[in-house]
Structure formats: C-alpha cells, structure tokens
Chain length 459, copies 4
C-alpha cells in the first residue's frame, strides 16, 4: 500500500514534484532548501555581531542550534498568522532562543532572501548542474574520440551534403557544451548578496555599526558571496538574469544534440540507436516500436526553458527601490535549473547507450553517388572560369540520364583540359566520398582532447 | 510537530506545490487528477464495448470498481519497470480484474491521454476557474455600481487628464473580464477528445467495430466531449492553444487591474487602500508600511503566464502523426490554469477589501486647477479656427504667471466673441472638473448591469 | 542603373522592407497605409458633423479632397516641428482647408489611432491574409482529394507506425487551417473602434452633441466598425491580442505543415519533392542540391511570430486611462500580419509544386515488414488475455531471428486457437500494410469536401 | 513636394525603417550594410589567395574595385533569376572582373554570411551601440555626482520607505549599465567567423590549400575575427545568442530606469520633469499636458526586445550540419540592436534634460512623518527583546490617534529605559528623515567615480 507521502507527492501539479524528481536538486531548490539558506544568512549575521562583540559569543552556537530546529512547516503556520514570510521565519527562530534581540537586527527581508537565493542558486549550479553537464561532456568526448574516423554523410537542409565523421559532429557539441559550462561557472561565481537594508543605503546598519560596508562583506563572506557594488532593497537582478540566460543557452545546445540524435534514429536513416532494456514497452499499441523518447523529452524541455526565460527577463524591472511584481514570478526560478539538470542527466544516460549502426551509416554515405562539390572545387582550382555553373548543369544532366557525374565529366570536351591537369587521387575524391572528409577526424580529436584537459580532470 | 507529509510538501520545487496550493485546482490538475481522468477514459471504452455486446455487461461494474483501486503510486512503480506510462496504467488496471482482455483494447496511449486532458482542463476551467473569475466579476460589478458617481481624475501617461468616476474605471474591467469569461467558456467547451488510434485513421478500431467513428463518439460522449474532425495520434493542439491564449489574456486583464489599483495606493496618490487585519506585518524592518502585496503578486503572476504561453505555442508543432517533443513541455499546462485561479482568488479577496480614501480622491481631482480641454472644445464648437493652439499657449502662460486659465481666457480680447456666446453652465465646466465627467456614471451603471444579467444569475 | 528608391529600399533594416515585400500587404500595413486610415477616420468625423448640421455639407467634400493631398512625408515634417504625431496630421489637413475648425473637433488622438488600426488590421486580415490562406487551403484540399488513396506509412517519434494515406495527412491540415480561418474571420470582425475622448467618458463630445454614444456609433459606422462597450483613452487591447494570438496559431499550423513536408524530402525518405525551375541554384558550393528552402523559410517564420506574440501580450497592460508603454511596441503589430501573409503565399506556391515520389513512398511503406499492431488487436479481439505483451515478445524474437512476425505467430502453439478463429482477410492485414489503413481515404475526402463547401465557394 | 524616396520610406512596414531611423545604425544593420560586409569577406578570401600565390597579386585590387561597384539592387535582380542569394552576389562580383575563377572559390555561402554577420554585429555593437550607451552612462554619472546629496524618499511597493538620495538612486543605474557595457564589449569581441566549408570539415579548402585552418584564420584576420573552435556549415549560434541576451538585459536596465523616471513625473509625485521646447504639443486634445513620452517609449521598447529574444533562443537549434529554419528568423537580428540604439539615444536625450523639482522632492520626503525603522533599530540595538512588534503597534496607534510616533514613544513606559540610553542625535533621526540616509551620498559618488574611470576616459 502506498503511503500518505506518496499520495501527497502525486497531489503535486508540477512535473518536477511528481515526475522529474531529482533528489540532489531538491535539496537546494525546494522550499526546504530555501529555508535552509535563509537560516544560513540569519546565522551569518549573528556571527558578524559576535565577532564585533555586539552580541555574546555563545549566541552563535545558540542560533546555530535553533536554526537546525526550524522547519518550513512551522514558518508557514506563523506566516499564515502574521502575513509576512521573513518575519515569520524570524519569529520561529526567536522562539527557540533565550536571547532574542539579535536575530535579524538591522536586516531587511531581502537582505535575507536575495542573499539566500544567490548562495543556493550558485550552489545548485556548481554542485549539481555543472557536474551533471560534465558527466554528459565526458560521454560526448568519448564518442568523439571513439568515432573520430567513422565517416558519415553531412546533412544540410535535411539533404545529403558532403561527408564528415560521426566523431566530428559530436565534437561540435563537446565544444559548445564545454564553452557553456565555463560560462555557467563564471556567472554562478559572480552572483552577489547584499546586506544594505530596506533601500540599499545601509540606513539601518549605519545606526548599529561603524563600517556598514565591511559589515556586509563579512556577513556575505560566510556564504562565499561578494556584495553588489550597488543594491536597493534588492540585489540588481542582472547577474541572475545572465545566469538564467546561460542556463537557457545550455538547454539550447542539449536540445540541438537531442534533435540531431533523434533524427538519426528515423526508420529510414537508422544510423544510431539506443540500447534498450528487455522490459521496455515501445508503444501501448504498437509493440514493435523503439521510440527515442528520452531525446524527445530533452528537446521538449528546451521549449519549457525558452518560455520561462521570458519571465526571467520580465523580472528585471523593479520599481524605484523595488516593488514586488517580480516576487511571485521569480519563485519558479529554481525550476529553470531543475529542468536543465533533468535534461542533462537524461541526455547523459541516453548518449551513454547510443550505438552506431555501421551498415546504415555506410549505406547512407553512398546514397547520392558522385560528389559534385569536389569536382567543382577542383575545376575552379585548375582555372575553369565558371566551374559552379558547369557542374550544376552536369549534375542535372546526370540525374536526368541516370548516369554518374564522373562519367559525364570525363566525356565532356570542355572539361578535358582541366581534368588532364588533375592528379588521379584528386579525381578519385569525386567518386569516393570517404576521401572527401577534410579535417574531420583531426578536429574531432583536437576538440575532444582540448575539453578533456579543460574540464574533466577536476571531476 | 509537523508530519512527513508536510516535509514532503516543502520538498516541492514549484510554488504551486508548496505555497499557492488550491485544493480544488489540485483535484483536477495534479497527477492524481490526471490518473483519475485517464481511468475515466478507460472506463468509457469498456462501457462502449458492453453496450455493443463486445464484452459482458458486468465488466463495466468490474472495471469501475478496479479504477477506484488504482493509485498513481502503483502506476509509477509499474512504469519504472516497463518504461511506458500508459501501458503501466493498463497493467495496474488489468491486475485488478478477472477478465483482462477488454482493457485498453483498440486504444493507443494518446486516445487516453489527450481525451483525459481535454476533459480535465475543460472541467478545471468550467468548475474552478470560471467560478473564481465570476466571483471577482461580482466584486467589480458591486464597486462599479457603488462608485458610479465617485469622481476621480482620469490619468494618461501618469499625468492628470480629465475626470472620470471610479465606478466608470472599474466597469472597464467588468466589461473586459466579462468578455474573457465568455470566451473561456466557449473555448473550454470546444476541446476535443479522440479515439482514432495510433495514427488517427482508426486502423485498430476498424478491425474491432463496424463504425469506428460512431464508436469514438460514443466513448467521448461519456466524458461530455466531441471528437476532433481529424486527429493523428493526437488531437490537433490548436484548440488547447487557443484556450491557453485566452487564459493568458484573462491574466492580462487581471494584471492590468492589479497594476492600476497598486498605483492608486502609492503614498502620494492614496486614493484607495486595502482594509487589513490587525496582525499583518507590513515589512520585516519598516513596521509602519502597508504594502499592496496581493496586487503586486497578481501583477507578478502575469509575467509567469506570458512566459509559459511561449511554451504552449511551441507545443503546436508535432511531427507527422506526432512526435514527443511536446510531451514534457505540455505536462506543466495545468500550472497555467492553476496560476490564473490563484491570481483570480487573490484579486477577489483584495478587491473585496478595497476602500476609497474620499479625501485623497477629492484632493487629487483638483490638483491641476482649470481644465484646458473643455475650454478648447467649447472655443472650437463656437467657431474659433485655431482653438487647440490658442489654449495650449494660454495654458503655458497660466503656468508661468501662476494664475488661472479661466482668468486669462476671460481677459483675452481674441476670445471675447466666443466666450460671449457660451452659456454660463458651459463656462463653469472649465473651472469645475466635477461637471466635466461626460457619461462616466451612465456607462459605469450600464456596463455593470449588462454583465450582472449576463453572468451572475447562474452562479 | 538602380535608382535612389532602390538604394533607399536596401537601406531598410527589416526584411519585410527589403526582402519579403508584399505589395498588397504594404498598402495597408505600411506607414502610408496608416496615414490613409487615420485620414479616413478624420473624414468620418466630418461626415457625422455634416449630417447633424454641425458643419456645412460642402465641408465633407472639401475634407475628402484635402485628405487625398496629405502625404506622410509632410506629416512627419510637421511632427518634427511640434513633436506630436496626430496633431501634426491635423495641422497638415487643416492647412489644406479654408474652413478649419471642424477638423478633429472633439477627438482625442487615440480616437483616430485605435480606430484607424482596427479598420486597417481588419482589412489586412479580411482582404489579404484570409484570401492568401484560402488559396493555400484550396491547394491542400486538392492534394487531399488527389492523394486520398495514396498509401503512406504513418510516423510517430520519427519511427514507422502504421499506414495512413497522403491525402489523409494533408486533410488534417485542411481541417486545422480551415478552423483557424474561421476564427480569424470572427476575430477580425469583432475589432472595435472608439470615439469616446481622452479618458473614454465622452467628456468632450458631451459638450458638442446631445448623444455622444450615437455620434460615436455613426462615425465608426463609416469604417464598418462597432464601438467598444467600454473604452478609456484607448480601445481595450484584448480583442486585438486575441486576433494576433490566432495569427500566431495559424502560423503554428503552417509551420507544422512545413516541418512535415520538409522532413519528407530528407534524402533517405524522399517521398515528396518540389518541381523546380531550370535556373535555380541549390547551393553556392554543392551544385547538385535541391534544398527545401521555402519550407524551411516558413518554419523559420513561425519562430518570428511566437517571439513577437510575447510583445503583443505585454501590450495588454496599460496604466489607468492609458500610458504609452505599449505604443512603440505595438507599432510593429502590422509586421506580425505581414509575416504570416508572406508565409502563406510561400506555402501556397511550394505546396502547389509538391509532387510525390511514388517509388519511394511505396518502398518506405514496406520497410518494417509485418505489422505488429493488427496482430495484437486481433488476438485481443479474439480473447487472448495478454495480447500486447505476447506480440511485443514475438516482435523482439522476429527481430533477433531475422524472420517474419507472421511466420513466428503461425508457428506459435499458444496463439493457434486464436488464429484459427480469424478470417483469412483479417490475417492478411498483418502482412500487407496496404490493407491496414482504417478510414484514412474516407476521412481525407470527407474533410476536404467539408472545407471546400465551407470556405472555397466564396472566393 | 516630397520625393519618391520619401514615398518609398513610408511604404515601409517596420518602424525602424520609417520612424526610428538611425543613420549610423542603418549603415551597418541595413541590407546595404550586409552586402558591404559580405563583399569584405569575399575580398578577404582573395587577399589570402594572393598572399599564397594562388592568384595574381593584382587580383586583390581588381576585386576591391569590383566590390565597390556591386549594389544590393543588382544582387537582388540576379537572385530573382537564379534563386540563390550568395551565388547571386558572386555572379555580380564576377561580372565585374576579367579574371573570375578566384571569386568565392572554396567557400560555402555561410562562410560568407556568418562571417559577415559576426563582423557587422560586432561593429554595430562596438562602433554605435556602446558609444551610445556610454553617452548615456556619462549623463547618469553627472546626475549621480550632481545630486549625490539630494535627499529623496526611498520607495518600495510604491510606498514611502526610508530616505536615499537622488544621486544614489541614479548611481544604481550607473553601476548596472556600466557592467552591462563591459559584458557587451566582451561578448561582441568573442564573435566568431568561419571558413570551414559546407559542413565545417574544411572539405573543399583541403583540396586547395595545405593548411586549411591557417587559411581560415588568415581570411578572418582581415575582418578582425577569430575562427570558431568547431563549426558546421554555420558558426555555432551560442555566442551570438549570448550577445543578444546581453542586449536584452541592457534593455532591461534602461527600461527600469525609464520606468522609474516616468513614475517620478506622475502629477502627484512630480519630483522630476523634462525641460521641453516651446513648440511641443502635449496632447492633441489636452493642451496643458506634458507627457513623459520618451520614457514611455523606452519602456515600451523593452517589450519589443524581450519578445524578439525568444526568437533568438529558438534560432539556436540547427539540424545536423545546419538547416535553414533559423535563416528567415535571424534576418531581423539587426533590428534587436537597432532598437536598443534607439532606446539608448532617446534615454540620453531625455535624461540630459531631466530636472529635479526641489520643492516636490522635499514635500514628499516629509509626507509620512516620523520614521518607524530607526526607532525599531535603535530599540533593538539597546536591547529591547521585541522591538519590531512594539514599533509596529505604536505605528498603528499613531495612525489612529493622528499623533506623532516619537511623541507616543516618548510617553511609553515600557520604552523609557531604552530611550534613556540613546544619544540625542540618535533620537533625532526618528523625527528627521534627512538624518537617516545611511551611506547614500558616499555610494553615489563612489560608484559614479568608479565608472567614470572605467569607461568614460576612452571616449
């Protein structure tokens, strides 16, 4: 029999709360996680008071103990009574202390809220998201190296173009994801806290301490944060906006990868597949199907991120020293990160079981017959004044007459002088796509090795 | 001591699951609600089989009983094993039945999913959202009637313009919200279900019954739904998109009202205020403050809705007979409705305790002195060829010389012939804004009465 | 040599002004078009004055003549001087008249602006967009009927599912587009004008006429518009928002069609192609390529529409009797319509030259061998208690042993009793996908005929 | 009489092409600007060929001359014939040369397009946008310093909170804008070009040169660009996405400033105003009005940017080696930058004529009477165990009894022991808001001086 807790869980409306539950993300991004970080800020304040002798040294330990006892549930009950969330937290904390007057002294609500959010979003990025992304990066690096020489037809407009290698294609995502991880790190580490009071001018703390800016810096230091150069009642929202923009961009990169891998699994293409477990049901009515549902899910999640990013941008405007019209709409910020974590983990698992169908990738490579591009390039290189147009016409002719382009070219009087100058290995490229892969394997390896060095050592 | 259930609740990431919890909304829009509706569709299928003699009549009751025993928790456990959500539901249902073969027969997953969603979103709109909106509409109608004659300065660009009445301003929202409610009703009632199988062509049901379209209609009839004219594996997403667009538009109307009421509470304006309870804390550090937090919250929620609407639009494209790239991203659809319900209820409560500060509204009305507009209109009406420009210059002059516009006008030789023609009551309008309110009270009452008749009788 | 005008054109920043130029759209949606409609409103006002004897009857003709002489360029020059756009228009018009005092009398700027926009957006929808969409609808109807029996494999998740017909797939878009056209018509015809003055209370017109509401209705009647039930300085933005939401939704339908047709042109799939002209260059470097660039362009345009729809939603909030924070951001509204017109015309041209590659569509249909779904459905119909699971396992076995599903089934002892009950034509379905198309051709024809009757007669 | 060019201009649909025309922006961001940069890339290719002896040295000058003669108009005419934009450009260029075969040799269209866009967007940011933003930054720095000591009431939730100074508030925007300028610079300088051919693997250039990567670097060097670490047919879109996200964020900062300045001009608040020219018309019907239309316009433009940013994010996904579904939708990218330039210039002009109404700012400062916050802070600092709650109640009492908070406090027995410990200058703070400004002037100056050093020296 399922328990009440399970019942409660499925009474949730957000898929993050009933379906895409990530334990680690939940620790920081849930309301319980938020309570925890707000208490950490209140505690940091007491530590700063104590170090300056503004409260007894023992008070630190007393508050630390009290913090551990405060539960979100009791805070909500108190808030229901007094209609103010931070004052409710403060009341609950005070209720557990003998000496009460130090708690929250000189603080305004958003000294606590914005500082707590900066710290927990930074931690969620650094401790959960980035490791998840690096796990994915590793898988992509492995594939890039493993398949650096696996020749595959390149595709533009959904049409066969000229060849690449599978590892080369993958290394593009290694490069893009690697760069995004570096950006995420930088932006997360730039998040600011504040302890500048109700309008940002240190009005209250100026009454209590001599050096309110140093006092602020000391409090934030306990959470590993720097103060904003200027704050109002709130930390300027711009850095958080930048961070979420990058979260969205990372989602775009993963979504692009998912899109590509999904299409390579189309029945007619079949170049890759996912190893699946025995029991998996493909379709409730078509038992034979193997659907790339994880890739579709990841591509779908990108649609969530882009929509929500609009809300993040809208939250950037706050009236005068602040209004609250960005408050309800920034509460779901944590969901943004949680969705990307979910997306990353899903992609890691899926890419980890991605296998190449060698027969199909080879079959597809040769579908279009002779390659027009190298012929055109070579003709131009050997001085043909209008090589592109000439080859375009030959290609159409070859299509209509159902014969090979190289045959037509070899019989063409106009082309003879140019073809005669070419070396045999140059001419062979036209007929054999495997010879026309440029630097694909080289780049695949170079990019993979670069990001291996850059990111993966540390984890 | 708080229970595990409370702990679980605050382990939620979505504010809808830990903070803005609406019991009624949860019944339909949670995962438990979704399970319920999916089972209702499975049951409707059995009923249709039974009526046609394709399964024993007793099977209906057996399935009905079995449905009541299925819990979301066990479905999730089964899904974990077999990796398919609907097949998991079917397995759980079958496990509770002696005769198993009828369950889900001829159905594809999305016959169940899309039909269940159409029914529950329709019910959420009709049974929860619209009553919430009508409750708000009633409050607005009351204010419109009560304050139909309360003269207030009209404002454009944040500047005083010419007078209206408070009831007139409110009746604008009565009209807009009323229209949106009517649209929501229509769009909710248009939502379609489907029972057309894996690709929409009734392939499977054509093997089982002679009249697959009538069979589909019969199943959907049990849920009060009509079939789509054409479906693929899924119901065309357009009608749901329209409904969510209207949900967003309703949010825009409420957000506009919240914006206006919030600004009328600015310290310097102070034309309205909210009666508050004794214990409410305005600020954690500024004990004197009374902040319009509910209006700010509502305005903030609009930012959530607009962002999420992007995702809804993105969900409109589904590849061929469908792909799953709109699946994860349509799971939060219910949140969209839940946020608007929250917003509506909050606005109803807030507008219900909104009071007018008569002294302030009167003070503000007279701030700008003589009205230029009626003078210009009257001069033009009596034939002045360039009245607007003339009055513009007089206004500047009055400002510079710190004297009244009507005094300057009365002393102006050029204006004399026109002023002489005017009736005294016409001239008075220039000096007394209370006389220059046009049809404001008339319209306030007319609009309020119209929507009272239209909407409020039925509830 | 190109002229200065061409130079000017390519000095444009918007692709609509240098690249996607549609002559008809430009007539209404350009700034010249806007000037035209604003003058129509000013003229309607004079007509209403004249009918009531408030100005001489000859003034109508005089104003009509003057309107024809006003150019946008001179209005802009005047605006530069006086910094007010509508007053500039009024000045230009007045300058061309002997009797000047009637012009704009009693009007506020947005009486003119919002009324002009309602009329021209309605006209752009009714006279340009809808005919464009109906032209596309006709092409789709033709394809639906022509290819009603062309069997094609249905695809879900990019995987082969069970068969449909090409006409059936197309008729889905006939149905969706047809419905959207009907909605667009309705929403365009609902757009309102206003003539209620600076704050919507008819303050000014109440000084001039006895029946300001009838006076407003009469003016708007000249433009074929109805007044809003309640207006402020502006018409409530909701109906325009609804219209643009539907424009976006139509874009979603066209984008979906473009997406599907593009993917059917993938090299490996090749079920459709576009007949192209002799001179077209597929690629600047790969002369052989035929890229579905028009379909890609249409799919791309959807991304434009969805982004801009955010701005439309944001324009819904206007402060008190209005602020101007939606003014700059509603100027590009016409672009929204223009992009959809471009998209529709492009799709009409492309779908008009879409051809089916019969060989490929047939080849793809048979790629996956025996169909599992009908076997499972038939087994279940004949009473097998666990048909889905049984067939799922057989399918895996067939795959591993590289043999046909029907062979395995026919040799399976457990299935024997069920297979014996089946009619030969039932069993044949498993092996021959062409027999498993359900009602696809029937629906294709029914839907096409329905919308032919509904929409296409009138054009 | 206006010319045909003017007529053409007002046949534009985009406000950027008929209304918000910025000459400098147009040079880079128009289609003519795009042609120019594409030709620069073609020229760079020839230079690289010449340096390697792959074409005669004179060819560089010949191509340079030819580039100067190519007009966008003729390219469009050629494109109309051959249906390919870059090949059309190439044909036009070739037609002007005797030796034709070098042009575009080894290039794919997007080597030209993406490289040209990277260079011109970088230039538009560096040469136009950033100087515009720095001009605004200068104005804001001046105001910050000039008004560093101008005491103003701080506002949260639209309610009076505790004091700041006007310069302090302004310096918040100096800080935010300064940081955003730095980010824009960095992101613009990171934009990459490419010359890696049709699928990014240097397939074509590998046939022509020995060191395709060095060859690419050399070509890009001519445009001041670095190659992407990995490209496909296109440069990875992520860096451009980041840049546009920052453009949007800058818009958010300017929009926030506009929002605040607009509200300070509300009739009832009147703390700031814009010096206006004599001829300006405030309203077409209310001649007395002075509307903050430029601030409203700027706030409105933010709504444009946020919507369009959605499109930018959507453009991040490109299929395999690329599809074209981001092509039409990235054409308006330049508009994004152009709108922000317009917004910045407008804000610079407006903030430059912003004046403070000293009487009003002083009046508003004293509206709320005694300050509760310092009283609560001081009581807590002197050991009152429940100061916040005590002061909250006193505040309510003061309100009800219409007397001053400090009077009530001084008469309160419970507070006596604490008040006795306070210094007179501490107590005075409660009654005199001018004494309770914390570090506001200090920070105003510090922030302004910091950004003066950081940014303004170089311009």
């Amino acid at each position: 029999m399922h328990t009440d807790v399970e019942q409660e869980r499925f009474d949730s409306i957000s898929p993050l709360d009933y379906r895409y539950r990530n334990k680690k993300a939940r620790k920081l991004l849930s309301e319980n996680g938020f309570t925890l970080y707000k208490l950490l800020v209140e505690l940091a304040l007491i530590k700063a008071f104590a170090r300056r002798g503004l409260c007894p040294a023992e008070q630190v330990e007393a508050v630390e103990r009290a913090c551990k006892q405060v539960t979100t549930a009791e805070v909500y009950r108190e808030e229901k009574r007094i209609k103010h969330d931070i004052r409710a937290l403060v009341n609950c904390l005070r209720a557990k202390l003998e000496r009460k007057e130090d708690v929250h002294k000189g603080a305004t609500s958003y000294d606590i809220v914005d500082t707590a959010n900066a710290a927990r979003y930074r931690d969620a990025i650094e401790q959960i998201l980035i490791p998840s992304l690096i796990a994915l990066e590793r898988v992509l690096i492995d594939i890039s190296l493993r398949e650096a020489d696996t020749i595959q037809i390149g595709r533009t407009h959904g049409q066969h173009a000229v060849p690449i290698t599978f590892g080369f294609a993958m290394s593009g995502f290694v490069s893009r994801l690697g760069e995004s991880i570096v950006k995420l790190k930088g932006l997360a580490s730039e998040l600011n806290g504040k302890f500048s009071g109700a309008v940002g001018a240190y009005n209250a703390t100026s009454l209590i301490v001599d050096d309110p800016k140093a006092f602020e810096a000391e409090i934030l230091e306990h959470l590993g944060l720097q103060p904003a150069e200027h704050s109002t009642q709130i930390v300027p929202p711009d850095r958080l906006t930048r961070l979420f923009a990058e979260v969205t961009i990372t989602g775009g990169i993963l979504g692009n990868l998912a899109h590509n891998m999904r299409h390579l699994q189309r029945t007619e293409i079949g170049e890759v597949y996912e190893e699946s477990t025995e029991d998996q049901v493909g379709s409730s009515t078509m038992p034979h199907k193997r659907n790339p549902i994880n890739l579709e899910n990841a591509a779908s999640t990108l649609k969530i991120l882009i929509g929500r990013m609009v809300t993040v941008f809208l939250n950037q405007v706050s009236e005068h020293e602040r209004d609250l019209t960005s408050s309800a709409s920034s509460r779901p910020d944590g969901e943004h990160i949680a969705y990307l974590i979910e997306m990353a983990d899903r992609m890691t698992a899926t890419m980890g079981r991605l296998r190449i169908n060698r027969a199909n990738i080879e079959r597809n490579l040769h579908m279009q017959g002779d390659l027009a591009e190298p012929l055109y390039i070579l003709l131009a290189a050997y001085g043909h004044p209008d090589a592109h147009e000439k080859v375009r016409k030959l290609t159409r002719q070859a299509e209509q007459e159902q014969c090979s382009l190289s045959l037509l070219a070899s019989e063409d009087q106009e082309l003879k002088p140019y073809l005669l100058q070419m070396k045999p290995e140059q001419l062979e490229v036209v007929q054999n796509p495997s010879l026309y892969i440029g630097l694909a394997p080289v780049i695949a390896r170079k990019v993979a090795e670069h990001w291996k060095r850059e990111l993966c050592s540390e984890y």
